[in-house]
């Protein structure tokens, strides 16, 4: 389809706000849902939107539902069946000198924003269980993208203070119930990542990256020289070392040494996206697609102005790979007392033919550096482009 026709299609019915913050996108073959923390509501809330092939419940950008106002610290995920699962963190003050500490209880929320037949559910969220899980003192919470592992971290007052991580696994994937799976200690406030499936934890500690099981058992320590990214299935790890990117294939037991490939990368590292045997490495100036099995460079694009910001991959059918590239071209940066302006663009390419399949462009005055957030999903595939101000769901990509 000519890109100009798609451009028109993409412009239909965007959801707009000047307060979108965190974004969650999920979907299966039939439907797509996306959710935003909306800061402009009276109190920050999670709005869940839905999109179906018929665009039945999303003609005017209205939310299919708005979840309760956010508590002090909450995390949500959208499960592949388009239900929202929320973890609510309750705080209680206790004196610790003059300071206060939080005692956190984990409350499971099953938020039935399931979208049978493309329509939003209307029933209210289920009440919290009578016996919330006691997680003790904790500072922040993380949840795997599939919603099956929750980690609570008791951070020190400053990053160098020792802390403890408590891990809870979802015991029944049809219900939002968790049990404690293990815990481990850490001594710095380094970056924490958990694979989407919740099977592997990568936790930076000083110059090392610790690989930890979902039960809290440390299995390996790897040297670390920059950002790192876990694949959703936990089988691959990408970590920067100087101008090189090391791609490590993690075994199920997380037992080193791991088979490793080194590829050269130009520019400042932003993200790495995994899909099947492919890894899309995004820097501001260049995007490279590598084969994980051979290390071969399969495809690349350059941005002399350093506008690349994000990417995504999707295998809509065996042997077919779609590549989405997001660019943020800052026309004027926001300054003290002055709003900025940036041009957002997203493009979808077919790897086999290098054909441009879809594009979307618009200007924004509010953004974060990782925008536009891109998600390719659905059958037929669609591209979801999200920024602080706007969300666009594309027509089906041929």
């Amino acid at each position: 389809m000519p890109s100009n026709l798609l451009l028109l299609a993409l412009a239909l019915a965007p959801v707009q706000s000047n307060g979108f913050q965190d974004v969650y996108v999920a979907g299966n073959g039939e439907r797509i849902a996306f959710a935003h923390v909306v800061a402009e509501l009276p109190t920050p809330s999670l709005a869940v939107f839905s999109e179906t092939a018929r665009l039945a419940v999303w003609p005017a950008g209205q939310a299919a539902g708005v979840l309760p106002p956010l508590a002090e610290s909450e995390r949500y995920v959208l499960t592949p069946d388009c239900n929202a699962l929320g973890i609510v963190f309750h705080f209680y003050p206790c004196l610790e000198g003059l300071g206060l500490s939080r005692i956190a209880n984990l409350t499971e929320l099953r938020l039935p924003f399931g979208l049978p037949n493309g329509l939003p559910a209307t029933q209210p969220p289920l009440p919290p269980p009578a016996q919330p899980i006691q997680v003790g003192k904790a500072a922040w919470v993380r949840m795997s993208e599939r919603g099956n592992l929750v980690a609570f971290l008791d951070a020190g007052h400053h990053p160098d203070e020792p802390g403890r991580v408590q891990l809870f696994r979802r015991t029944d994937l049809t219900r939002a119930e968790f049990s404690e799976a293990g815990n481990y200690g850490y001594t710095t406030g380094g970056e924490f990542q958990v694979s989407a499936e919740g099977t592997v934890i990568a936790h930076a500690e000083g110059p090392e990256l610790r690989l930890i099981t979902a039960a809290g058992q440390e299995r390996a320590r790897l040297p670390l020289g920059g950002p790192f990214f876990l694949s959703p299935d936990g089988h691959w790890l990408a970590r920067w070392k100087g101008k090189k990117l090391l791609l490590s294939e993690l075994t199920d037991a997380l037992a080193p040494p791991f088979p490793e490939r080194s590829v050269s990368v130009q520019g400042s590292p932003l993200t790495t996206v995994f899909e099947g045997d492919s890894a899309l490495v995004v820097t501001s100036e260049r995007v490279d697609l590598f084969s994980l099995s051979s290390g071969a460079l399969l495809w690349s694009r350059e941005s002399p102005e350093g506008a690349f910001a994000s990417g995504d991959l999707l295998t809509p059918a065996p042997g077919r790979l779609l590549i989405a590239l997001g660019e943020l071209d800052v026309l004027s940066p926001p300054m003290r007392g002055t709003r900025g302006r940036a041009h957002v663009s997203a493009r979808v390419f077919e790897l086999a033919t290098d054909e441009l399949l879809a594009t979307s462009e618009f200007d924004v005055s509010e953004w974060v550096a990782r925008h536009p957030h891109l998600t390719l999903l659905g059958r037929p595939p669609r591209l979801v482009v999200t920024t602080t101000e706007r969300v666009q769901v594309s027509e089906p990509i041929p």
Binding site: L12, P93, G99, H157, P333, M335, R336, V368, A369
Partner: protein, 377 residues
């Protein structure tokens, strides 16, 4: 430099030295950190002028009250409100960005503009941030928005930005102890021995203020405005001081009386615009047209009042709802000398989308704007 700086304690003067280090390199000679000829770099939050009320901790204060914290806290903490913009204090190039909004430990390292890539030179570290608006490798200008203040992960301190001078990756704020000593110290944990945590003793120096900004400056509309019904629209500067639980804490020492230099006159301009979406013949939205429907300007000063004493100076006390689980007394900042006439009743003529825009200016013309959109059903 204004008189207020003369009255700062030695530790605060030392803190200012951190903020006035020349970009060219460490000073070898002794520096009079309270030298009136020195011009501070811009303040990373709020208006660009130095705001002593926002200072939470210094290295020296940590050392005085908590020896462990003194070992690890190499910078200054500047109170902010969650989501408030953080501005670059100096031109530079982003070296590293740890964008982890969930932890509260997200940070940005910006080397000075004159430091070549790959070499060890001076820079700044901004910590406890989220929603970064800049990417590694990109140039940033002084006053450019870098990101937003994150939620601080622990309850023993309020949301704030940790600002730290760097040389390479090492902190340089030993200046906070001794401005004449130009030797940068490596982190005290270079020996690899994990520190033993000690009970966190009172971090609040006697008689000093301890504050956070609840909301910064914002616009509050009536609870559910509807077309045709007059509603109150109040533009306010909502600042909340969290004071010591010691009743003897002198209010004047916390923030100063009305008209003190830090509480200089400010001007608030409130404008309301109606947003009208123009559509094509097919009904597709073409563009949004904005028409001003209301403008008012308020001159104000800020004063401090102890909430325990009841009435405020201007008839309003803004309770701190977000920190309701604290038992400590609050020192609330209220507006005084507000000329609120004209702000009281505004009637939205029709339902639709409105943009409320608030502009806060100080006497020097420094301005910060805030916007909020509402939709009348």
């Amino acid at each position: 430099m204004e008189n207020r700086h003369r009255h700062l304690s030695a530790s605060v003067c030392a803190l200012m030295a951190l903020a006035i280090l020349p970009a060219s390199g460490p000073c070898g000679a002794e520096v009079d950190v309270c030298d009136e000829s020195l011009v501070p770099v811009v303040w990373p939050l709020g208006l660009e002028r130095f705001e002593s009320r926002r200072l939470l901790y210094s290295h020296a204060q940590f050392e005085q009250h908590d020896s462990f914290a003194a070992n690890v806290h190499r910078g200054i903490d500047i109170a902010g409100s969650r989501g408030e913009y953080v501005y670059a204090v100096q031109d530079g190039i982003v070296d590293y960005c740890y964008d982890d909004s969930g932890s509260g430990y997200g940070y940005l390292q910006v080397r000075d503009a004159d430091v070549p890539d790959g070499s060890i030179g001076l820079g700044w570290k901004y910590m406890h941030m989220k929603n970064f608006k800049v990417k590694p490798g990109k140039t940033v200008l002084r006053d450019q928005v870098l990101g937003e203040v994150a939620k601080f992960p622990k309850a023993n301190c309020f949301d704030h930005v940790h600002l730290q001078r760097l040389i390479g990756n090492a902190p340089l704020d030993e200046y906070a102890k001794d401005a004449g000593n130009a030797l940068p110290l490596l982190p005290s944990r270079a020996d690899g021995v994990p520190p033993q945590r000690k009970p966190f003793e009172s971090p609040i120096p006697t008689g000093a203020g301890f504050l956070f900004y609840k909301d910064g400056t914002h616009v509050v509309a009536g609870p559910t405005p509807t077309a045709g019904t007059p509603v109150d629209i109040v533009a306010r500067v909502a600042e909340t001081f969290h004071g010591s639980s010691t009743p003897a804490c002198p209010i004047a020492a916390c923030a100063g009386p009305v008209g003190a230099p830090d509480l200089a006159p400010m001007r608030l301009s409130l404008s309301i615009f109606e947003e009208k979406v123009q559509t094509s013949t097919t009904g597709a939205p073409l563009r949004t047209k904005v028409e001003p429907v209301f403008t008012n300007t308020i001159d104000l000063r800020i004063a401090v009042k102890d909430s325990a004493e009841g009435a405020d100076l201007a008839g309003r006390i803004y309770d701190d709802e977000s920190r309701g689980d604290y038992d400590d007394r609050y020192l609330l900042v209220v507006m005084t000398n507000c000329q609120t006439s004209g702000t009281g009743a505004f009637t939205f003529a029709s339902k639709g989308k409105y943009l409320l825009q608030l502009l806060l200016e100080d006497a020097s013309g420094n301005a910060t704007s805030f916007e909020r959109r509402i939709e009348l059903p």
